[in-house]
Symmetry: C2
């Protein structure tokens, strides 16, 4: 596999979890990702569908595979999981490690246009193009059957990528996504840094704004939001705004939103509803 | 709950994962454990069975609940999980943090008789008596329906506690247990330190030795051993010795041992077979 360095591999649930490192042209630095491959994809006897998972602030490519509880369900459904890192790492951008909400681990999955970020923080291009091409070129997957999901900042990333690329993903889901970042502290701070002061440019990365104007083929969306999530309570996530925008665009967006009481923002919450999300995607990936 | 300090609590799989800290009379220091309680035990509408999980070298009370993948199955079966720490921690014993195979994180679940360990490293007493009494006194559990399992050093601990206490546990299982510690580097080093040079005292903590002489009620045992486990290959685990001892004592021990190929020693392996272990115990805990 040209350009892909295997960092580790472990057998798990009749498949393998592998970590790869590669030089990224989009981010200008080494990037790592985890991939789960069911045995049929390892053997090459089937080109399996792909689920792309984007993690949240401070996370890495490891959170999902370690704590998400997805692997038994992916194994059963014969779906590959791809979990990239949450930002460039060690790119040498001034100040990237100084603040947990900005820079390393906090890319917000945008293509930055501002200094000092724009040379490396090209995460939309990385996730949407480079990473997916790399996976299509190197593994036994059907790259035309792909869905996307994520948690918190990664839920924002998943919703935004699906809404920006009509027809590309079969389905999208999110756990406690940042839904309206142009209007919340999580979002305004990062968009200002990465995209500059012109708030017109922010709308292209705001799920609520994008949901209002989306006119592609019907997009199936599942969102779960823990009812006792501290960031929901402090209005950093604003799923209500997203639900309203989706409701006003019912011809194009089919949203199921659930707010199970008692659950917080953590992977204790994420894993509790993981099977539902895998089943939701599997129905669209293997219709 | 007198003496129990709630450190954290998160809703998960229609129940809660809670971490508690308490002063232990057995170990003479503060101990922490995690407990998963299904909603019926939280509400007190049912006294649920208990599964006790012992972790391996370098682990804490967190590995199982974070990476074990047990919680959806425990929730479905309405079984409480109790996962203690792997040793006293911060007890101030000279040298306890100097070696990852001895002291902190490496108790081997024995009651030490030697200096400097004996004042604190009383993990058999802690797990078998103090912790179980604490759980019985403070939670809606049926303390007479209890099974035990563990991983690696914790698999050793689970097998030894079940074999030392005939009739106490409904069932016992282990992932990649250290099976014959009197004869392997993992075991000889620790038994010498904790129990002294008299190898006669080691047999009381050696699953293979105990299996040969066990004469209690029929004990149901499930052991899974990854076929590509580096510690299996280096003969630190010796499941074959344990299987032979069990085969010679078929009237009293009903062992199922599996060696799935390709799996290593990690929680990637443990989680892959967790559902089988929970089902195995559930059948005996809810006959």
């Amino acid at each position: 596999m040209a350009g892909l360095e295997l960092v580790s591999s472990s057998r798990c649930f009749d498949g393998e979890v592998r970590k790869y490192r590669h030089a990224s042209s989009a981010t200008g630095c080494a990037m790592t990702f985890n991939i789960f491959l069911p045995d049929c994809a390892i053997a090459g006897t089937e080109k399996v569908p792909v689920l792309l998972f984007l993690s949240g602030l401070t996370c890495t490519e490891d959170n999902m595979v370690t704590k998400g509880g997805a692997l038994p369900h992916l194994s059963r459904e014969r779906i590959a999981l791809v979990a990239p890192d949450t930002s460039p790492r060690g790119a040498g951008v001034a100040g990237e490690d100084a603040d947990w909400e900005l820079g390393t681990g906090a890319s917000f999955y945008v293509d930055a246009t501002q200094e000092p970020w724009k040379a490396n923080y090209q995460m939309t291009s990385y996730v949407q193009s480079e990473l997916q091409q790399l996976v299509a070129d190197n593994f036994s997957v059907n790259a035309s059957r792909i869905s996307i999901f994520g948690h918190s900042m990664g839920g924002h990333g998943a919703l935004v990528l699906a809404l920006r690329n009509p027809g590309h993903y079969q389905s999208v889901s999110a756990f406690a996504p940042i839904c309206h970042p142009s209007t919340t502290d999580w979002g305004k701070k990062q968009f200002h840094a990465y995209l500059g002061p012109d708030t017109e440019t922010w709308a292209a990365y705001d799920a609520t704004e994008l949901a209002g104007r989306y006119d592609g083929p019907p997009l199936h969306i599942l969102v779960d939001q823990g009812g006792d999530d501290q960031f929901y309570a402090s209005k950093q996530l604003q799923p209500g705004d997203f639900a309203a925008a989706a409701a006003n665009n019912k011809l194009h967006i089919q949203l199921t939103m659930r707010i199970p009481p008692g659950y917080d923002h953590s992977y204790w919450f994420v894993q509790s509803f993981m099977e539902d999300h895998i089943s939701f995607h599997a129905k669209r990936l293997r219709p």
